[in-house]
């Protein structure tokens, strides 16, 4: 018996725990799922979850908690699973994370909780993401929103601009402090990038709706169809609508194009447009939904880029019937920023990865439609500012790749709508909003910002971390009155 096992519900010794293999996630078989938009991962059963939870070593100083941008008490919730108290586990996660069913699905766990897991040093890390998802889904099936507690009112009002991960997180934390919280969303659906960016097969819309319904039950108010900067300004929210503080979590927003010839051809999309059509507008369900999409059946499609967005786009194209689906990435696989599980899933589904390859021109046969991409091979040179080796074109290596559709997923830049309509709001040279990395405070009194509009494109969980920090300092500001 070890010292931790004494007070732990876990009957296994540490040695025994090391011998339990990591429980595999149930998933749709690759060939089947490549033809539908249903979720790839099917979740843990109760038995699998219990078995996996038994593997936790209950470290005295758990790296998993430290490495979580929102500080989920992993060790504690996992022990509640071992004890069979799943609702208790859910409540434990909710102390730090108001979107557990979402993070359980889309977090790059290998970079955070699972990355530092002691178990991973010897064997495979604890399946923390899978366990979080199990708990969140269990909670969803068994909870009653009428029992959600509401905090007593503080008399302060906070406006949240944008209903993506940072905004929802800030809203959830602030409403629990009794503040009146109203979230403004530009689109007709709530969820921001979770809704327009991440496809159904990775994060079902129903899950997002349920998580938002929970926030609503906590008292968060939502108003769709409000483009802050156009429909109303930050100044108007504060001076005319009586908001004591504002959190800006609008995301990076604006798509980057490559600036190469042929980008205006029909069949060339930004990843934002491509994914928005499919996810927000349900173009994959045309004609049941009105929004159309190019007919992909029997056509060759490529995405340019190596992030999660790129993989989301190309896997969607595959599901729409593409014959060949390529990822063109100018660096090598080691530098790909995509989540490990997504790369694995994409490979299983038959996506072809062309590393060290970049288009230099989009070609047409004269009818206005894309017919091919002229590509060049890259070599890797010295490390660049990002620490990754800089891709360098290999002279004379050009070749043409026949394509009907190309999706550009090379990142985003700052959407200037709010910056240009909010006097006194300082931005950096790339026009992202300047915010203190610890407090998320901007240069304007009462205004806080976080997520991609501050950092540039990052991940859901990093945005949520910013939302949490902002909520804490907004609460400090509202209770102390000190800026």
């Amino acid at each position: 018996m070890t010292q931790t096992a004494n007070k732990s519900p876990n009957p296994l010794s540490l040695k025994e725990r090391m011998k339990v293999p990591r429980q595999a996630m149930l998933e749709q078989p690759p060939l089947l799922r490549a033809a539908n938009f249903k979720e790839v991962n099917l979740g843990y059963s109760e038995e699998l979850a219990k078995q996996e939870a038994l593997r936790c070593l209950e470290c005295a100083k758990p790296a998993c908690v430290n490495d979580c941008p929102v500080g989920v008490k992993v060790k504690e919730f996992v022990q509640l699973i071992v004890a069979g108290d799943y609702m208790g586990a859910a409540a434990k996660i909710r102390e730090d994370n108001v979107l557990p069913a979402i993070t359980g699905r889309v977090c790059p766990q290998e970079d955070h909780c699972e990355g530092g897991c002691l178990m991973g040093k010897k064997v495979q890390p604890l399946g923390i993401g899978y366990l979080e998802r199990f708990v969140a889904d269990y909670e969803q099936r068994h909870m009653d929103l009428r029992n959600v507690k509401r905090a007593s009112p503080s008399g302060k009002k906070v406006a949240i601009v944008g209903s993506g991960p940072s905004g929802l997180t800030a809203a959830g934390d602030l409403v629990q402090k009794g503040h009146e919280v109203r979230v403004f969303e530009a689109l007709h659906e709530l969820g921001g990038v979770l809704v327009y960016g991440i496809p159904e097969f990775r994060l079902p819309k129903q899950i997002i709706r349920e998580q938002i319904d929970y926030l609503r039950a906590m008292g968060v108010q939502f108003e769709t169809n409000v483009v802050v900067g156009k429909t109303v300004t930050i100044s108007e929210l504060m001076e005319e609508e009586g908001f004591d503080a504002v959190f800006i979590g609008t995301g990076a927003g604006a798509p980057q194009f490559m600036g190469i010839p042929g980008e205006h051809l029909n069949g060339v999309y930004s990843a934002n447009e491509f994914l928005t059509r499919i996810n927000l507008m349900h173009a994959y369900e045309f004609p049941k939904y009105d929004e159309p999409m190019v007919d992909f059946r029997g056509k060759d499609v490529a995405v340019i880029g190596g992030g999660n967005t790129a993989l989301d786009a190309i896997r969607s194209a595959l599901r729409l019937g593409a014959r060949k689906a390529y990822v063109l990435y100018r660096r090598s696989e080691a530098e790909m920023p995509a989540r490990a599980e997504e790369v694995k899933h994409a490979q299983q589904e038959g996506i072809e990865f062309h590393m060290l390859t970049a288009p230099t021109e989009f070609l047409s046969e004269g009818n206005g439609w894309l017919s091919a991409a002229r590509c060049i091979r890259m070599g890797l040179g010295e490390p660049d500012a990002s620490g990754r080796r800089r891709p360098v074109p290999v002279e004379g290596s050009e070749f043409d790749l026949a394509l009907a559709v190309a999706v550009i997923a090379i990142g985003t830049s700052a959407n200037p709508l709010i910056q240009s309509t909010t006097p006194g709001l300082e931005t950096n040279k790339r026009n992202y909003i300047q915010a203190d990395p610890m407090t998320q405070r901007t240069s304007r009194k009462g205004v806080f910002a976080g997520g991609d509009i501050v950092t540039g494109s990052a991940t859901v969980i990093l945005a949520m971390g910013a939302g949490r920090r902002a909520a804490k300092s907004i609460n400090d500001y509202l209770t102390s009155g000190v800026w």
Partner: protein, 297 residues
């Protein structure tokens, strides 16, 4: 949801809606537009705001039935509700004293040209308006345009009303008569705007047109509405919708607008069959909302 307070045909297939939308009404400036969606499975389409009343909290939209969504919209009446209306989007028209401005409205484009014409007039410009339509019954807002113009000329393609011919015939006359023109604003079908641009380019007359490419979010997020202006990519939703006509690549605009034509045709065919059930769905949603007041989405 956004209630329709009144809906009246201005011409066959062209309807004017007065819609309760207080936030938008308070902020709208000439040249701006909204994006609307009619039902859960519906698409988002941009429509220019004809005018608004900040006090009453209403905006006016003039809509011509062209595709599925606009046909459906034209079937709606006072009391119905629009599921989503977001705006005002786009940059407002540049309003200042230019001198003499020729405002050209082609077809339903007249409704979009009207608020800018009115604002230009108020700013002290001499406004000469040219309104064109295919035939007599499609001439809209004649009275309104006359009120804000120092001179108004009307053309119909078939000669059933006023002068037979095109708006460019009138513009050519003005130029040939030696009228000093400081600015031309032309809003209408792409071939009309293109023809105006070609005519004024030779004369070196600054010309502004309002573009209506395919759009989704309308906030600069997707880039679907990108147009080539002076060889550079611009987003009509946030950098426009008005651009210098002499710098626009109209060929690319026409090509990109045709991107979904087969799908649009299918939608339209399906719509002819499903019109009644779709209308019922919209009326049903309106009724359901009445039962649950305050049930904000």
């Amino acid at each position: 949801m956004f209630q329709i307070l009144s809906a009246d045909f201005l011409a066959p297939g062209i309807k004017r809606f007065v819609i309760q939308a207080p936030r938008i009404a308070r902020k709208q400036k000439p040249g701006q537009f909204v994006i609307l969606r009619l039902y859960e499975q519906g698409e988002r389409i941009p429509i220019t705001i004809e005018q608004s009343d900040g006090q009453r909290g209403t905006i006016n939209l003039v809509v011509q039935a062209l595709g599925k969504t606009t046909h459906l919209l034209d079937s709606l009446q006072a009391g119905d509700k629009l599921l989503d209306v977001v705006g005002p989007l786009g940059k407002p028209s540049e309003i200042k004293q230019f001198g003499t401005v020729v405002v050209i409205g082609g077809g339903v484009g007249t409704a979009m040209a009207y608020p800018t014409a009115a604002a230009l007039k108020s700013a002290g410009n001499r406004v000469i308006s040219i309104v064109g339509a295919r035939s007599k019954e499609l001439v809209i807002l004649e009275h309104e345009m006359r009120e804000v113009s120092d001179a108004l000329m009307i053309t119909t393609d078939d000669g059933t009303y006023a002068d037979k011919g095109f708006v460019t015939d009138k513009l050519r006359q003005l130029i040939e008569n030696g009228t000093r023109i400081d600015l031309v604003l032309a809003i209408g079908p792409i071939p009309m705007m293109r023809a105006v641009a070609e005519m004024t380019r030779k004369e070196g007359i600054r010309t502004i047109v309002s573009l209506n490419p395919i759009m989704i979010d309308g906030t600069g997020m997707c880039g679907g509405c990108r147009v080539l202006v002076d060889g550079k990519s611009q987003f009509a939703c946030v950098d426009g919708p008005e651009f210098d006509a002499h710098q626009i690549d109209f060929g690319v605009l026409v090509q990109r607008n045709a991107m979904y034509r087969p799908a649009e045709q299918k939608s339209m065919e399906d719509f002819q069959r499903e019109r009644e059930s779709l209308l019922e769905r919209i009326h049903g949603a309106t009724a359901a909302e009445c039962v649950l007041p305050g049930g904000g989405r």
